[in-house]
Symmetry: C2
Subunit: 105 residues, 2 copies
Amino acid sequence: MQRIAFKMKVKPEKVEEYIEAHRHVPTNLIELYRSAGIRNLTVFLRGSELFLCLECDDFRAAQNRLENHPAEKRWQAQMAELMGTDTDLQPGEELAFFKEVFHMN
Amino acid sequence: MQRIAFKMKVKPEKVEEYIEAHRHVPTNLIELYRSAGIRNLTVFLRGSELFLCLECDDFRAAQNRLENHPAEKRWQAQMAELMGTDTDLQPGEELAFFKEVFHMN
């Protein structure tokens, strides 16, 4: 089992819209994520800074399963309007991943 | 059940020492955290940036139980040598808490 974590930014003026959108995540999107093996996904927010963590069996496989699905494409298009620029993203990095250095069940 | 998340900083020159310390967290400290109701605690690292998330029934009660325990005091004294300054901490804030805006089991 993998624990995946990464950070993102919301445009400061879009924070309320981001929160509101996450009160109404489409049921079929949640089902899609579950069917891709994603579990225990939490989105945390501080100011305009986001931290996302999730568990899955194989994150790369999950991404492959999601990326061309219409429900995911619709959601990502909606989110793209709200997301800011993460200045900390390194060249060639797709997401600003953290690595796990400790876990206690 | 509460999901608690906050960020911290490690001194850039102490990152390796921080990682190494977390390979050898004392067993009695882990038992203490569990007995305080803390579960599923993960420490994530990116550069010198830390993100910690955990589950517990009552974080305030857990903190009260931990704060004067010798095992916790020893650990916090060891960690204090390694921790950097989080410039994002607001006046009066004890930790740089995030709030949960979405969760999917």
